[in-house]
C-alpha cells in the first residue's frame, strides 16, 4: 500500500484524537484521586460519613451533602419525568409536522440557557413568588431547586426519549392500527414499550444532569447542610455536593484538609456519574445486541 | 486468437463467517472483448468483479486463495499498488452513484485524486470520456450543473464516463442497466460495443437476454462455482452443462 508520508501522518493524528477521550477520562480520575485521597488519611472514615458538615470546626460529614443532592435530584425527577416523557410523546407521535418544527427548537433553546441565568431568575423572581404563593418561610429551598432542576433536565429527557420513539419502526404502528387500535392505544401499548430502553436511558441521563448541576442549586437551594428528618425537607434549605464544592473551593487554603475533602466530594460525584453512564451504556449495548439477533 | 488480459487461477474467497462466495474459479478473460459473467443471484459474480479491482478489501473477507493475473502480474500479491490498480480497472455499479459535484467535477475527480492539475488535460478528458459514453451532446452545455440533476440513464452513463476519464484498461460493469429504461439500456449496450474495441470489458448482465445480446464470451456462475464458459453465443444455444441449459431456458433463476 503506497500511502504517502503525509497521509500516514494525518491518519496517525486522527487516531490519536480518537484515543484522547480515554486519556482525558483517565487524567481526570487521576487528578481527582491525587488531590482527594489525602482526605481519607486526614479525616477518619467514620467522620467522613457522619451527619455533620461544618468545615470551620473540622466537621467533614458528607451525609448531609449527599442527602441534599439526592433530595433535589429526586425532586427534579418527579418534575422532569412526567413532563419530559409527556412532551416527548406529544412531539414524536401527536404533534403535526409544523408544530414539531416549533417545539423542537424551543426545547433546544432551553438546553442552551445558562444555568446561572436560570438561577438568577430563581433568586429574583421564582423563589419570592413561591414563598408568597405557598406561604412558606423561605423560597430558597429544595422545592425551588427541584422545580428549576427538573426544568433544566427536560431537554435531555425530551430529546433522547423523542429519538427513541422516532426510532420505533413504522411497521409496528401500522400493524397495531391495522387491527383496529386507536392512535393512543398504539402509542401507549406498542410504540412506548418498544422504545422503553431509550426512554429509560433518557431518564437516567436526565437524572445524571440533575445531580451534576451546580450553579442553579447553589443559588436557590438555600445553604444549609442538614440531614432530612421527613418529607418537610423539601421546604427547607439544603446543600448539594456540587454547590458545596463551588461555594467553598474559593475560600480554602491549598493543601488543607478542607481542600482535600472537597476533592473527595468531587470523586464521589465522578463515581456517581460514572455508574449512571456505564449502566446506561450497558443497557444500550445489550439492547443493540438483542435487536441484532432478532433481525438476523 | 486474442491473448488473455486476465487470468484467474484457482480463486477461492472466504468470508469471516465461513461462507465461500467463490470456489476454485479458473478462467481467462480475453483482451478487447466483452466477457459476460451471468447466472442467478448469489452466484459470486459481483464478488468476482470486486476481486478484480480489489474492492473486496473493504468487506469482511477472511481469506483469498489463488492467483489473479492481469497482464501477468498477480494483483492478489500484498505488494500490489492497489490505488493504481483501481485506475486501470474501473467499475460501474448497479445503482448510478454520482458524487455531490458538478458534471465536470464528477469526471475530473479521479484524475485530481491522481494528482492531475493541468486544466487542459482535465478538460480534454472530460470531453473525451463524455463522447465515449455517448453523453456529450446531451450535457455539453451544462457541465457545471450538479450531476444529481441528470436522469437515471444519464447518471449511469456519467458513471461510465467517470471510469473512462481515467483511461483504464479493464472496465467492470455490475448490472449497470438494472434500474434503467430500455432506451437508456440500449444506449449503454451500444457504447459497450464501441468501447470493446479499446478496452477489456466484463459485464454482469441483469438478464439472460442482455447476456445473449452483448457477449463475445460468456461464463455461467452458480452458487460460487464456475459451471462452464465458452466463446461467442455457444453457451446460450448449446450449453454443455444441464444446469446452464436450465437457467438459460428459464427453468429456474
Amino acid at each position: 500500500m503506497a500511502l504517502s508520508l503525509r497521509e500516514r501522518l494525518i491518519t496517525g493524528l486522527i487516531k490519536a484524537s480518537g484515543y484522547s477521550a480515554i486519556v482525558f477520562v483517565l487524567l481526570i480520575f487521576y487528578f481527582l484521586l491525587q488531590e482527594g485521597t489525602p482526605a481519607l488519611s486526614q479525616v477518619p472514615l467514620g467522620t467522613l460519613f457522619s451527619g455533620r458538615w461544618y468545615p470551620i470546626e473540622d466537621y467533614f460529614g458528607l451525609l448531609p451533602l449527599i442527602s441534599g443532592s439526592l433530595v433535589v435530584t429526586i425532586g427534579a425527577g418527579l418534575v422532569a419525568f412526567p413532563l419530559g416523557l409527556g412532551t416527548a410523546i406529544y412531539i414524536a407521535e401527536i404533534a403535526p409536522r409544523w408544530m414539531r418544527e416549533i417545539l423542537k427548537p424551543l426545547v433546544e433553546l432551553l438546553a442552551g440557557l445558562p444555568s446561572v441565568m436560570l438561577g438568577f431568575l430563581g433568586i429574583i423572581v421564582f423563589s419570592p413568588f413561591l414563598r408568597s404563593w405557598l406561604d412558606i418561610p423561605t423560597g430558597l429551598s429544595a422545592l425551588t431547586a427541584s422545580l428549576l432542576l427538573g426544568f433544566i433536565s427536560l431537554p435531555t429527557i425530551v430529546s433522547v426519549a423523542e429519538d427513541a420513539l422516532d426510532a420505533v419502526p413504522k411497521a409496528y404502528r401500522d400493524a397495531a392500527l391495522a387491527i383496529g387500535a386507536t392512535e393512543w392505544q398504539t402509542i401507549w401499548r406498542v410504540t412506548v414499550p418498544a422504545a422503553r430502553t431509550g426512554i429509560l436511558t433518557a431518564m437516567m441521563l436526565g437524572l445524571g444532569r440533575a445531580i451534576g448541576e451546580t450553579m442553579t442549586v447553589m443559588m436557590v437551594a438555600g445553604n444549609a447542610p442538614v440531614l432530612p428528618r421527613g418529607l418537610d425537607i423539601f421546604l427547607s434549605p439544603v446543600r448539594t455536593m456540587t454547590a458545596t464544592i463551588a461555594a467553598e473551593m474559593g475560600e480554602v487554603a491549598n493543601g488543607s484538609t478542607h481542600y482535600h475533602v472537597l476533592f473527595f466530594v468531587g470523586i464521589v460525584l465522578f463515581l456517581i456519574s460514572l455508574s449512571v453512564n456505564v449502566t446506561a451504556s450497558i443497557i444500550i449495548f445489550r439492547q443493540g445486541k438483542r435487536a441484532e439477533r432478532m433481525l438476523s | 486468437m486474442k491473448e488473455a488480459k486476465i487470468t484467474i487461477e484457482n480463486l477461492t474467497v472466504r468470508y469471516s463467517d465461513g461462507v465461500e462466495p467463490l470456489r476454485n474459479i479458473s478462467l481467462t478473460v480475453q483482451r478487447k472483448a466483452i466477457t459476460v459473467f451471468f447466472g442467478p443471484a448469489g452466484g459470486g459474480k459481483s464478488t468476482l468483479l470486486r476481486v478484480l479491482n480489489r474492492l473486496n478489501d473493504l468487506t469482511d473477507v477472511a481469506s483469498v486463495e489463488g492467483r489473479v493475473l492481469i497482464d501477468d502480474q498477480d494483483i492478489l500479491d500484498p505488494k500490489t499498488d492497489v490505488i493504481s490498480l483501481r485506475r486501470r480497472v474501473g467499475m460501474v455499479f448497479a445503482r448510478p452513484v454520482v458524487l455531490p459535484f458538478s458534471i465536470r467535477g464528477n469526471l475530473t475527480y479521479g484524475l485530481e485524486l491522481a494528482g492531475e492539475r493541468n486544466r487542459d488535460t482535465l478538460e480534454a478528458a472530460v470531453k473525451r470520456s463524455l463522447k465515449q459514453a455517448a453523453l456529450w451532446d446531451e450535457v455539453k452545455d451544462r457541465l457545471d450543473e450538479p450531476a444529481v440533476a441528470l436522469s437515471g440513464g444519464q447518471q449511469q452513463r456519467l458513471c461510465l464516463a467517470r471510469v473512462l476519464a481515467l483511461e483504464p484498461e479493464v472496465i467492470l460493469l455490475d448490472e449497470p442497466t438494472s434500474g434503467l429504461d430500455p432506451i437508456s439500456t440500449g444506449k449503454v449496450e451500444d457504447s459497450l460495443q464501441e468501447l470493446k474495441k479499446k478496452y477489456t470489458i466484463i459485464l454482469v448482465p441483469h438478464s439472460v437476454q442482455q447476456a445473449a445480446r452483448t457477449a463475445d464470451h460468456a461464463a455461467f456462475f452458480l452458487q460460487g462455482e464456475l459451471v462452464e464458459h465458452a466463446g461467442g453465443k455457444k453457451i446460450f444455444n448449446t450449453p454443455r452443462d444441464q444446469r446452464t441449459d436450465d437457467y438459460v431456458r428459464g427453468r429456474f433463476g
Binding site: P82, T87, G212, G250 | R86, A114
Partner: protein, 288 residues
Amino acid sequence: MKASPASRSRYIWQKVVFSGLTVITLLTVIPIILVVAYILVQGLPAISWEFLTAMPRDGMRDGGIWPALIGTLYLTIGTAIFAVPLGIGAAIYLSEYAPDNRWTRLIRLAIINLAGIPSVVYGLFGLGLFVLFLNFGTSILAGSLTLAIMTLPVIISTAEEALRSVPQAFRVVSISVGGTRWQTIRRIVLPEALPGILTGIILGLERAAGETAPILFTVAAFFLPSLPNSPLDATMALPYHLFVISTQVPHMPVQIQYGTALVLVVFVLVMNLSAATIRSRARARRQW
C-alpha cells in the same frame, strides 16, 4: 358504520389523554418562552452602548460589562482552538477508521463518561491539572483547556453523526477510482458533513460560553482593573459576572443584573438561530 359503545369510549379516552399531553407540553414550553421574554423585557432598558463597552464602576454597580464580554469571547475562542480540531479528529476516527473492537467501545464509553461528568468536577480537574500542576495559574489558558475537554463530547458526537450520515456509496465510488481513505474524507465526506459538524461546534461552544462552574477556580476573577493581556492572565466572564452581581454584591441595581442576563439570552438566541439556519440551508442544498 356506527361505532360501538366500547370503541366510542376508547375514542373519548384518547381525546382526554391527548388533551392532557397537550397541556403537559404547554407546561414545558410556555415557561421557556416566558423566561426569555421576561428577561428581554426587563433587561432592555439597561442596554446601551455604554453598558456594553464600558468598564464597571463603583463595585460594578455602575458602568458596563465590557471586560466580562471580552473575557467570554477570549474563553470561547480558546475553547474552540483546542476542542474543534481534537473533536473533529476523534469524530473522523470513530466514523471512518475505527474497527469494531473492544478499544473502540472503550473510546465510546470514555466519551459518554466525559459527557456526564458534572461541570464543577471539571472545575476541580482544571484546578488540579492546569492551574496547579502545570502551573498556568488562574488563567484564560487553564479555563480554555478545561472548557475544551468539557465540550469535547458534544462536538465529537454531533460531528460523528454528521459524518456517518454521508452515504456510504460515495466512499465506495471514491475508492473505486483510486482514492485513498484520507482523500475520500477530505474531498467528499468532510465537506458534505460540514454543516452538521458546524452546528455541533456552535452548540458546544454556546454551552461552554455559558458555563460558570468550570471557570470558577480556573480563570474567573471577581473584578479586574484592566483587560487581560495574555493567555496567562485571569479574566472576568459573563456567566460568572451574573453570578457575582446577583449574589455577592449588596445594593446591586436590578437593572444591571437583568441587563447582563439579557446579553446572555441574546447570545444563546443568536447561536441557536445560526445553528438552525445552517441546518435548514444545508438540508435544502444537499445533493443526496
